[in-house]
Symmetry: C2
Subunit: 483 residues, 2 copies
Amino acid sequence: MSTDAPWQQFFVSTDLAGLEQLNVATLQTVESLLSTGDAPRSSLLPADLHAAVGRLEVCPEDGAALAQVLDEFGSIVWANGVVPGDPRCVAHLHPPTLLPAVVTELAIAATNQSMDSWDQAPAATEVELHLMSWLAAALGFGPDGTGVMTSGGTASNVLGMTLARAAAANRLGVDVGKSGLPPESRTWRILCSDQAHFSIQRAAAQLGLGRDAVVTVSTTPAGAMDLDALDEKLAALGHDGLVPLAIVGTAGTTDLGVIDPLEGLAERAEQHGTWFHVDAAVAGSFILSTKLAARLTGIERANSVTIDFHKLWWQPFNASALVVASEDAFDLLRVRSAYLDRGDELEGMVNLVGRSLDTSRRFDAAKVMASLRTVGRKNLGAMVERCVALASYAGELIARTSGLDLVAVPTGVMCVFDAPGHSAEDLRRVQQHLLACGEMVLGRTEIHGRAALKFTFMNPSTTEVAIDGLVEKILETLVLVAN
Amino acid sequence: MSTDAPWQQFFVSTDLAGLEQLNVATLQTVESLLSTGDAPRSSLLPADLHAAVGRLEVCPEDGAALAQVLDEFGSIVWANGVVPGDPRCVAHLHPPTLLPAVVTELAIAATNQSMDSWDQAPAATEVELHLMSWLAAALGFGPDGTGVMTSGGTASNVLGMTLARAAAANRLGVDVGKSGLPPESRTWRILCSDQAHFSIQRAAAQLGLGRDAVVTVSTTPAGAMDLDALDEKLAALGHDGLVPLAIVGTAGTTDLGVIDPLEGLAERAEQHGTWFHVDAAVAGSFILSTKLAARLTGIERANSVTIDFHKLWWQPFNASALVVASEDAFDLLRVRSAYLDRGDELEGMVNLVGRSLDTSRRFDAAKVMASLRTVGRKNLGAMVERCVALASYAGELIARTSGLDLVAVPTGVMCVFDAPGHSAEDLRRVQQHLLACGEMVLGRTEIHGRAALKFTFMNPSTTEVAIDGLVEKILETLVLVAN
C-alpha cells in the first residue's frame, strides 16, 4: 500500500510484517517495566531525578535504536515513578490499572481513531454511544440517557457547568455561547458543599462567573452536605435577588469519600427549577455493587453526572464521562463546522464533536468496555466493596491506636486521621519524609481547617496486614520527626 | 505484596508473573489488529455497525475470557474503523502513529502516573518539563520557555485564551478567576483570521465572552491573514472603544494549511500591548525541517503557542501542548488546594496541576519523547517535508486535470479543490458515496462559501501513484453521482 520509504519502519502497520515488528517492540516494552521494582517509589530525590532525565536528549539529530530508548525509559522513567498498585501507595485516588484496559490502550494507539467525527471513528463512535447508554441505564436514567467521554473529572464537571450555564441563559432567551454572559449572570450562583472538589470552583472561574459565584454549603461532621444549611443558603439567595444556577451534589468527596443526600438535593433543584449536577467521580462505581448502589439513590434525577472511570473502575488515565438524561442536553453546545460536522451526513453518521468541548479525542471508551466485559459486574462490585472494607478496617485500627485520631468514620475508600499532640508541621514532615525516602506515598490534607493525613485504598488486593504495617510506620515516623 | 485475591489476575503487575501475563495479552491484542485489513475503512453502513456493536453486552454479570473479548474487539471494532495510514484515508489531520509512541502507550497505561502532582508522577513530571523546555527552545523561546501537555489543540487554545483573559483582567486589577468577568470585558475582542480554527470561537464561548467577541480578519486569496485588514480592524476597535484581548495567528489553517504572517502579527500585538497566541497545531512541526522552519519566524514572540503532537508529529491521540515564554504565565491560573498542591513540598517537588485546566492527567509526554528520541530530528524533518511535497504534487496534478479546479496552491499538507460544473450537492454525494462504500475517506469543506473537497496527506510513505489513483477515483465518482 506504500513504497519502501525509509520512514515506514517507524510507523505501526497492521500487515503481517508490521504486526511482527509491533510484537517485538511490545515485548521489549513489557520487559522494560521490570525495573519498576517493589517499592511504592524509588528514593531518588527531585534533584537527582531532574539530572537523570535531563541527560536524555529529547530530539537528537539522528535517532537511537528503539530497544535502547525503551531500555532508557525503563531504567530512568518507569523505575522512578510511583507504583499505584503498591499497598504503600495510598495518597490519592490513583488506581492500579486493569490488564484488559492496558492492552487495549495499545490497540487504541495503533488504530488511532478520533472521536470527533464518524469518518474518523465509525465503529468507535458506536462503541462510545453503546457504553454511554449502558452507563446512563446503570445510573437509573431513562432510555434516552446518554453521555460523552471526557479527559477527566475536572473536564466532566466543567462540561456539566457549561450545560447548566447554557440552560440558565436559554431561559432568559440568551445564547450565551454566542453573545457571552448576560448582565443577569452576576446573580448566578452555584451551590455545592464545602467538601466538593475544587474543579467546581475551576469551572466557575473558566466560565467567567468567578469562584466567588460558588456558594459553599456547610457539611455535617461526617462530611455530607447539610440539607438545612442548603435550605438556608437557598432562602438567602432568594432574599438577595440571586439565582441558583446549579446545585452540585458530590457522590464521594475527595478527602472523606462521603456522598451528599442526593434525593434531598434533587428535590431542591426541582423546586427551584435549577440544574442538578452530581460529581460522582469518586463513588460512581458503587452502582456496580448490590450492597452500595442504594447510597446513590437520587442520582437518576440529575441533569448531569460526572463518572471517572480512571478512579474506582481501575482504568488508566484518562477516562471520564459526563452522563445526561437525553442527547438534547447537548443542543445548547453544538456549533456546526464546515469541515467536521455539517449536519448533512448519511443517516447514522453521528459526529460526536457536537457533544464535547474537545475536537480530536481519544477512543478511551474501548478500554473501558473491554475491561467491563472481561471482569464482569460481580467481580467489579466485589472489588469496590473490598476497597470500602479496607478503609473501614483502617478506620477501626486507627480509632483504637493511641497516638492517632480518626477525623471521621470512613464510609468510602479513604481514611483521614491526625495525631493528637502533633502539629500540622509534624504531619507535613511525616508525609514528606516517607515520600522522600520512598517508603510510603501518603496523603495529606485539611478538613475544616484541621491538618490531617489520609489513606486512599484503590487496590482491592491490599491486605489488613499491609494496613497494620502502614499505621506502624506512621507511628515510628512521628517519633522520628518530632525529635 | 498482596494476597492471592481473586481479582489480582485482572490487574497489571510488574513482577515476573505479572509481566508474563501482560506479554500473553499484548500478543493477543496485536493479533486482533490483523483484521483491520487493507482498505481505508470497511463498507459496513452505520445501521449494520450499530447492530454489530449493540450485540456486545457492555458489562455482563460474569466476565468473559480476555482472549475472547480481544477477539471480539478485533472482528467488530478494529475491523470497522478507519485506517489513518491507508493512502486513501485523506480526510482529516488524522495521522498514522509511530511505533515508539504506540508501545510507550502500553507502559504509560501499565504504570499510570498522574501528572497533577509530583507524588503521583515523580519521574514523569521531570520528563514533561524536559520535553516542554526542549519544545520551547525549538520554537525559539528563551531559556525560561516552558509549557504543559493538554488533551488537544482545542484545550491548548482554550488554555491560551484563558491566560490572555487573565492577563487583561489583571491589568485592570481584577482577578477574573475569583470575581468573574468585569464589566469592561464587554469590550474585549479576540482577533483571528476567517480561516482560524473554530476552537478560538469555542474558547470565547467557554470563557463567557461569547463567539461574538471574536473578530475575524479577512484573508488573502492564498488563505493567510491580511495584515492591512488586521490594521483596519484594530483601528475600528479603537474607534468603537473596544479592546483587543488577544491576536491569534494560525500556523497551518485547518483547510488550506496556510501560515499567517506571524512577524506582522507579533508587531501589532506588541504595539497594542495585547496577548499574542499562535495556534500552530497544524504546522508546528515545521520547526523540525531546515527547509520549512523559516516559515514560522515570529512564533518565538508569542505569549502562547499551541502544538499538536497528534498531528504532524504522528502521535496517537491525545498529545497537545501549550508553550509559554515563562512559567510565570501560569501564575494567574494557579489556585492551591489542600490535598494536591499546598505549596509546602520539598524543593523540586513540582505539582504540574498549577499549569493545567485538568487535574488527573495522562503521562502523554512519555510517548512523544520516546518517539523523538527514536526517530530523530532529521527523519522527522524529512517526513514533514515529504507530506508537504505530496500535497504539492496533488495540487499540480489537479491544476492540469480537466474537470477539477484547485481552490488554492497547496503550501501545507492539504490540497483543496472542486469540480467546475458540479454543485455542492454533487461534491457531498461524491464524498458520502466514497465513505459509505469504504473506497476513500475524503475531506469536504467550504472556503469563503465555496464548497470543496480536500486531501490531507499525513502519511509520508504515500506515493505519487496512489495520489493519481485518488484523483481518478474522484473523477469516476463525479460521473456516477451526476447520473
